[in-house]
Symmetry: C2
């Protein structure tokens, strides 16, 4: 396979698909709509997991594990919930294979389940069935549980990371004694997601609330973080839901308050998925390949030796090994690529494609001069640096790259929020510029759907703190009190 | 629910089931044979994961993720493999629900899959389908991948942790250029498992090979580690398989050797599961509850304040917080249980049930004397210790407990390996003493099955390094060259 990528300007979608595969992040499996996450892609996910898990535990959450399969009768208990997921459910109907008379292996019709089981598309129903047993009194509250798991939503059109039938995620499910406490929890996790995207993924997000039409099935309010990709399309990067008492009512989860009364429990749920890796790729990468922010890069620094004979390689290895030890002591992940089966040019191209933030090349002349060639992946710039200066320079440079990636993405995003005041303007901006469109809307589902039908753009969110601004809906001309953000979205 | 446990001597099986639930490790869900792993149980699993993951990476393995669902046609490619798992497969046949005319939610028959999908009982087939694409040349080898995942085997009789329809595990899948390299890999992982059980779980194991009859479906050799529970039954705690070229042939995975020839790739796979937590419970715990080895205990030290008024609680809290900081700096996980809703006696019983290795109680008199009461969970002994001595004493004591738990389990295990030379002796030991029975066997599957039929005991393993010893099979009297270990098993 050629390592050369399609250019973004030629075909953004093709560029993305090629990049994910060529950079060894993931590939399609033989199973429709399901991907294989390859070691390099999974290493990024592990970094995402480690940091989020730390933040969840720091804020008093514990991990647990609930069953993969949900009885159909549980799943259908909350009407809006089932409406949201019924069309994309994988259903288990049998529990045995057998050998047919002709020797082939077939499903054993005698092993048919009495009640079908659904592969979880999300776990509210199976979890609230347990919470009923766990919660009697206000003393049992709050319960703050998170689960790292695989889930399945049978999507018809799938794309690596962005939309796959099976994906990996975390799902938090909390139970509270009061409405306010549950809302605060949903908002807290909303903030944790936004901070994580900013500080680790170098992705700026807009924090907002979903419209009723775009809410999670069963939620009273959905908080979302919305990112903007380089092609001007938005991507929902994480959501946190205030579920009210909907699931408590569906599963009859009551508790005795500290005044001795009976009340239904208040709930939240919140999640981010492997889709984040798609967002990471589409925010920072370029026509040469991936660009990874140092805080999530599996390899932060790679050292490539340039040599003509074993003697030179030995001398370079000595320097490299010394640097490796120093870097590792500072918590920098570093790789020395001393493969003799590949040439330096090949290695340079490979690490460029894989987005390793910093590359150190050491050749015979560097040995004489006590220098190395240091190259930045994000800017593709190079400089010669004294070996003795590397230990202080590298951490600073990694932090600089992290900041600059964020700033670059933020500038792009900010340049792509456009206020419009008519449908013509709306269509014009959508077609020629893309990005978020800030516009007045009359607050009805009907108008929202009509605009989507005309333009394919959806309301991404009502931004938090949207200012009071009297205006007229761009479609109906009806009164509006604040602007919302529209965009075409992944 | 009463916190009082059934005694082991009364009903070992009931004791186990009650303990797992009362200690908040896990419980049955509303889905047949599937458990909910509760936060306290999951925290132990996280400790298992962290340590094994570290060992896997240290030995050059990478994590990845492959699809949950396997097309039936992949699954059936390796004949012995499908024979091993066909009877316990959950089968997905549809991908959508719909609303029926009467308003109920039913499976949409129009959304029937052309080919049924199997929920992975293990991932050899789906992974080797990918390896075919990844491997062309010896330069692509070895591939050493591990996956942390859920799998499903439809068991009819299930027990929390020990045997559940869904369980969590890790599965390693490696591909090698030579037979020897693959065998060495399988043996390396076998050793890593044995060391982990010894050093972290304080469980002694016997390392051995499975007989042909007990091998993993598709393996040429299965290495096993066998532990002994307190009721004299054995438990297979982990297995590592040398798969030969079976999966490479089934999935047509060939490579060009460094001599330019074509050959099939050599394979291994290896795994341990959440069953380990069942083994942990059954090895060390007693009639008062769990006994956890310090190296896997989510809480290693708990501090309980004993007070009559707020003033005393404040003074105790000050001491406790100082200790907490000191302990945490030393990497000791410590909890200060300052709940005002529960009395000290309740808390003592709770941490005893949950197997926290060390309990520190601080009362008003301790404040005066500068002491604490320090209690060991494993021995149920108490002593008064100067507060200033705790920081040096606690780490030593935790290490001592870890060692003594292992020694105790090892002594029990060693006392329960009995050599027998006749079927009468065999039956007698099995009935009256239990444990491993070391006996001669003629090496045939027929005899093995016959002994199982008569006694319910199976050959747990052919111990590594079983010594040449001429003998006669206890059942047939035929020649035998070494002894094997029989036992009843979980």
């Amino acid at each position: 396979m050629s390592k050369k990528l399609t250019k973004r300007s030629e075909d953004y979608s093709k560029w993305y698909n090629e990049l994910v595969v060529k950079a060894d992040l993931a590939e399609n499996s033989g199973v429709r709509g399901m991907m294989v996450i390859k070691p390099y892609g999974y290493a990024i996910w592990e970094k995402v997991q480690a940091e989020l898990d730390r933040k969840f535990k720091e804020t008093g959450h514990e991990n647990a594990y609930f069953p993969l399969l949900i009885p159909k009768s549980y799943f259908t208990k909350e009407a809006n919930h089932v409406k949201g997921f019924a069309k994309e459910c994988a259903v288990v109907t049998h529990y045995r294979l057998k050998t047919a008379d002709d020797g082939s292996i077939i499903v054993d019709e005698k092993a048919k389940l009495e009640e079908e089981l659904i592969i979880r598309p999300t776990s509210e129903t199976i979890i609230w069935d347990s919470y009923r047993k766990w919660i009697q009194s206000y003393r049992d509250l709050p319960i703050k549980i998170n689960q790292w798991a695989n889930v399945m939503r049978w999507e018809m059109r799938t794309r690596l990371f962005l939309r796959t039938a099976e994906f990996l995620w975390q799902e938090g499910h909390t139970a509270h004694a009061t409405k306010n406490e549950a809302i605060e929890e949903a908002q807290l996790m909303h903030g944790i997601y936004a901070d994580f995207l900013k500080d680790f993924m170098a992705i700026p997000v807009i924090k907002g609330e979903k419209t009723e039409n775009e809410r999670f099935g069963g939620a009273l309010n959905t908080y979302t973080i919305e990112a903007l990709m380089q092609d001007g399309k938005a991507l929902q990067a994480g959501t946190s839901h205030f579920l009210g008492q909907n699931f408590a009512k569906a599963f009859d989860v009551k508790f005795t308050t500290n005044e001795g009364k009976q009340d239904y429990v208040w709930a939240t749920s919140w999640g981010v998925t492997t889709r984040l890796i798609g967002a990471l790729v589409m925010t920072h990468s370029d026509d040469q390949g991936l660009v990874l922010p140092p805080n999530l890069a599996p390899i932060q620094v790679v050292i490539v030796p340039i040599y003509r004979n074993d003697e030179q390689l030995d001398a370079i290895s000595e320097v490299a090994n010394k640097l490796m030890t120093q870097f590792k002591d500072k918590g920098i992940s570093v790789k020395f690529d001393n493969r003799t089966t590949h040439k330096p040019g090949f290695k340079f191209a490979e690490y460029e494609l894989k987005g390793v933030p910093l590359r150190i090349a050491i050749g015979p002349r560097d040995l004489e001069n006590g220098t190395v060639e240091l190259a930045r992946r994000d800017t593709l710039t190079k400089e010669f640096v004294k070996q003795e200066d590397l230990l202080t320079k590298i951490p600073v440079l990694l932090a600089t790259i992290q900041d600059e990636l964020y700033q670059k993405a933020l500038n792009y995003r900010n340049e792509h929020i456009t206020e419009v005041n008519s449908m013509d303007e709306f269509k014009n901006v959508l077609e020629n510029k893309g990005g978020f469109i800030s516009a007045h809307w009359d607050g009805t589902v009907k108008t929202e759907k009509e605009i989507k039908k005309i333009t394919k753009a959806t309301i991404r969110c009502i931004p938090l703190g949207a200012e009071n601004e009297e205006g007229k809906c761009i479609l109906t001309g009806n009164k509006s009190k604040f602007r919302v953000l529209f965009a075409k979205a992944y």
